[in-house]
Symmetry: C2
Subunit: 593 residues, 2 copies
């Protein structure tokens, strides 16, 4: 039992994997220290909270998760969700703010564990790619915008409206702190150089290829070290009024159950739900993308359990919610990580940092951390997906846009909910007006295709109609209307063959409607037949006694069998005679199913 | 323009229709007077309010509606919705209570007009038959239970919990007013006799068949007349403490815009929405059922406009919300109504009643009206649908039960919302785990069927997989998993043919997943092909450049063409060689679409 919960790589660990894991784990740790501090600041928390969360998550996830490469820790979007969620509760003090953040990690942990153990991982599929892309882009813009005040070294009143925020920022430009602007913009320039210019330079300098990724990924640490040194030497924190990180308590946090009041849980629950879903969706997408490159499998429910445990661990050491992040996981993979040992190495280095090196970070300017966040989230902005989606399917494009604007205008949590609901409604709207095709015979084959798209033969007395959708309550009324009008427009029709090759389900409402249709059309002198009924659908129809209710109508195995049988049937003159004749036809027996 | 809004029967009215319409309209009016008073009482309103609403609705609906037989006026379920909705706003006085009810009629009118003019009538389809049946049954039980206190002649504290209500009623049994109980139970007995015993008796007495329905439908008026006479003669209202209707103002109401404060509108809106949808769903179902018997058409959006106008008219004369009712419409139809003139006749008789006969109703005991309501709603209790639905489809049965219990335990408005959401979620859940069938060739035909259901031939190297669902974000992850495992279980497979005859749509998320699948399986040495792609789906795939992304995979017109082509393809040994060979195969060209 326990063994099935341990990841497969533990039993089969090779000594040869260790050096690769050591290198990758070190590279990730070098990225992680400044990112954890920056994201913690984005979440409105002291920088050490991000480090605590990062260390505990990196320690626990690899023991349970199904991904070998996922780097779990603080990430930008979850930090934003924490910031807006906790602020909406109007905490009275920084201590209460921190308390809420820690309780969120606990709640997210419990929710994700519960969803995983309850095998509800499939729920994350209710977020379509379009919704996720729209959400990520809008959230990245929101995050980037939230950092501009740190870049300018000014304070602006808190607001949920991006228009008010833009206005406040514009008004504060004259009050910008020049030193902060130089540090922030300088950091951005250095970070961009590391990722855009440096690799080519290193290759020209004949640096071996395997070293190039690790070197470029030291960029955040490099700007943090440079920024801290400059600020310390010039005393920017004191003399120039540049905001700096300040005292970070040295040493490890004590492990304890977070102190909390259950009073806040009803308010925290929706925020925790949003973080659980969004965090899982981001993490699962990265894990799957990396695993497929090595033909490994990711299990959704197992991932939920592992992320839940990581969040519980984070809350135990006073950290805030975590998830598998995109950029660090990709770096871990491309730096050569082989197993979860790489994540354990990162955790160890974080513990070392917390124990011995926190004093080095006292003078890191906020503007430098803001620069790191801005460069990180800029990569998440994805308008190309919108273009592709819009061209492929208007509904997907509309889902993207609805989520994008809802997140920008209504906030991140409401926004993703609106997006998910819009996507579901568009899907239902589409299935509520199914495509119907009148089909005819292709040449002398047994194949039947849409008369509008193919050169086919039809018989005016037999209307063969393919229904391109499952029949269920949302579309039954529409279908009944359309079929009745199609028959009404063709007075010469005496047999209607409903081809159900694309009907995967007929629900109770649709069954009622079909039964009505049979009666209504019989009164109009038209017999209803079915063809190409799928096995599971036929089982249900038989259980409900539908074949009897078809009366003289029949159920054919194939469209071809239906058309051949109905063409050769004698002409019918009156409804009364028709019924007699059809009874006779049906007594001769249809194709058995 | 105006002409298209007038019903078709107006231009073609026959003098011969008049006598039929006169008879049917009179029969409906005889039912309507006591029912309108009873339902008004159920809604917590004075009896004349129901009469005002009934007269105005019967006058306006036939001028706009598409049904010739629908009898619009106060109905039981809408009255219940008004009662619980208005009570939830805790009005301070009967005047304020009435004000809310009138404003509800106004709001319902505006909403239904707006929905109809905006052509949103299809939204009513989101209530499945199972949800409507579960709702109606639970609402009928709730209504019946709410009348027991009048039958007992006692008062009980208002409560939303049926358990508390049952307990209060049980505790009040010792205090029951014997005269009220005798009147109420006697009314129920007489009403049941009229509908169950009388028709046979009349037939035995050789009464002509056309008169039987009109005679039996005088039952409510008969018990009201008898009850009022008994109460007047014995002075039951004064001496025995039997609750009676009391003073009804004589004459017509003044026509005016209802006085209202917009303040209450945000609270009234959800109630008005529930009434609009439920009222429309009931009315539309009856109208369609009756129209189909005479091969006439009902237009959803036109019905919404007509019902909206009827509700606006009701609010103008100080009435409460109305809709097309089941029982009176059926009586109208079976009493021989030919056109909307029948409804105009009813309206005229109601105006006469209001002008001259209100004094006759002063002594009608509440217990008699409660008896009328109980007998009317008892016909709505429908557990047979549950049995049929459950046997046919568990999801429909579950929707019924969820709605039924939600209505009983959470109240009528929350209940129907819960039911609608449960039905949609069950639908999504079903489409999230689509049926997949491996198919093989039936004998020497060109037909391919599920290997588990038919005796078919297969080729171990070619896996032909039929996907029985549209591909969209809710099911892509599941499908990818299932397909990858199916291929993994069959190491000899080198070609996978996805048969998409039942795939009616591929959304953006599913397209991404398909592209990933092609790459993942190519790495595993398996080529992905498509067969039987529908026209609209193919158009989209081509727009997105998907055929190119299939690489050496091909798109076949039919499953047969795919299997024949792939069986004759040369054996492939290694992925690398495979790619070369497949490139060669693809250069020979597939079947053009």
């Amino acid at each position: 039992m326990i063994q099935t919960w341990l990841p497969s790589w533990i039993a089969a660990y090779h000594r040869g994997d260790l050096s690769a894991d050591l290198l990758a784990g070190t590279v990730v740790a070098i990225m992680l220290v400044p990112q954890a501090m920056a994201y913690s600041l984005l979440a409105g928390l002291p920088p050490e909270i991000g480090l605590y969360a990062a260390a505990s998550a990196a320690l626990i996830y690899p023991l349970l998760g199904s991904s070998r490469y996922l780097a779990v820790g603080p990430v930008a979007i979850v930090s934003l969700l924490v910031a807006t969620g906790v602020a909406s509760l109007s905490p009275a003090s920084p201590g209460e703010y921190l308390g809420y953040a820690v309780q969120l990690a606990l709640l997210v942990g419990l929710l994700q564990l519960g969803l995983g153990l309850g095998r509800l991982g499939f729920l994350a599929n209710f977020l379509s790619h379009a919704v996720i892309a729209g959400f990520t882009t809008a959230a990245a813009l929101t995050i980037g915008l939230s950092q501009v005040k740190l870049l300018l070294g000014v304070t602006v009143p808190r607001t949920d409206s991006i228009f008010l925020l833009l206005r406040s920022l514009a008004l504060q430009i004259p009050n910008a702190n020049v030193a902060a602007v130089i540090l922030g913009v300088g950091s951005i320039a250095v970070l961009l150089f590391f990722s855009l210019g440096l690799p080519a330079l290193l290759r020209r300098g004949r640096i071996p290829e395997p070293w190039i990724v690790p070197i470029t990924k030291t960029a955040p640490l490099a700007v943090v070290a440079a920024g801290a040194s400059i600020a310390a030497v010039l005393d920017l924190g004191g003399r120039a009024g540049v905001a700096v990180v300040g005292e970070i308590p040295a040493g490890l946090p004590s492990v304890l159950l977070p102190a909390f009041s259950f009073v806040a849980w009803p308010d925290l629950l929706p925020i925790a739900l949003a973080i659980s879903f969004v965090g899982f969706a981001e993490s699962y997408a990265v894990a799957k993308a990396l695993a497929s490159k090595r033909r490994e499998k990711i299990e959704a429910n197992r991932e939920l359990v592992a992320l839940g445990a990581a969040n519980l661990a984070a809350s135990m050491v006073g950290g805030y919610p975590v998830t598998g992040g995109f950029s660090r996981s990709v770096v871990n993979f491309s730096a050569g990580a082989r197993t979860g040992v790489s994540s354990l190495v990162s955790a160890g280095l974080l513990v070392l940092t917390l124990t011995f090196f926190t004093s080095l970070f006292h003078t890191v300017p906020h503007a430098v951390l803001a620069g790191i966040i801005i460069v990180a989230v800029a990569k998440l902005i994805d308008f190309r997906s919108l273009k592709k989606l819009w061209r492929y399917s208007r509904a997907d494009g509309a889902s993207y846009l609805a989520t994008f604007f809802a997140v920008l205008l209504l906030g991140v949590e409401t926004g993703i909910l609106v997006g998910a609901i819009v996507a579901l409604c568009l899907h239902l709207w589409r299935t509520s007006r199914p495509h119907l095709a009148i089909v005819g015979r292709v040449g002398e084959t047994e194949h039947y295709r849409n008369v509008l798209r193919h050169d086919v033969q039809t018989d005016p007395r037999v209307l063969a109609l393919r229904i391109d959708e499952s029949l269920y309550f949302v579309n039954t009324a529409y279908l009944e209307d359309r079929i009745l009008s199609m028959v009404a427009e063709r007075p010469e029709v005496r047999d209607l063959v409903l081809i159900t090759s694309a009907v995967n389900f007929i629900d109770g409402s649709a069954l009622d409607t079909l039964e009505n249709l049979v009666v209504e059309l019989r009164d109009a002198g038209v017999l209803v037949h079915l063809a190409e009924v799928k096995g599971p659908v036929m089982d249900r129809l038989e259980r409900a006694g539908f074949p009897r209710k078809l009366g003289a109508g029949r159920i054919f195995l194939t469209t071809h069998a239906a058309i051949q049988a109905l063409r050769s049937a004698p002409a019918r003159s009156s409804p009364a005679e028709m019924t007699r004749q059809c009874n006779r036809i049906s007594r001769t027996g249809g194709v058995p199913i």
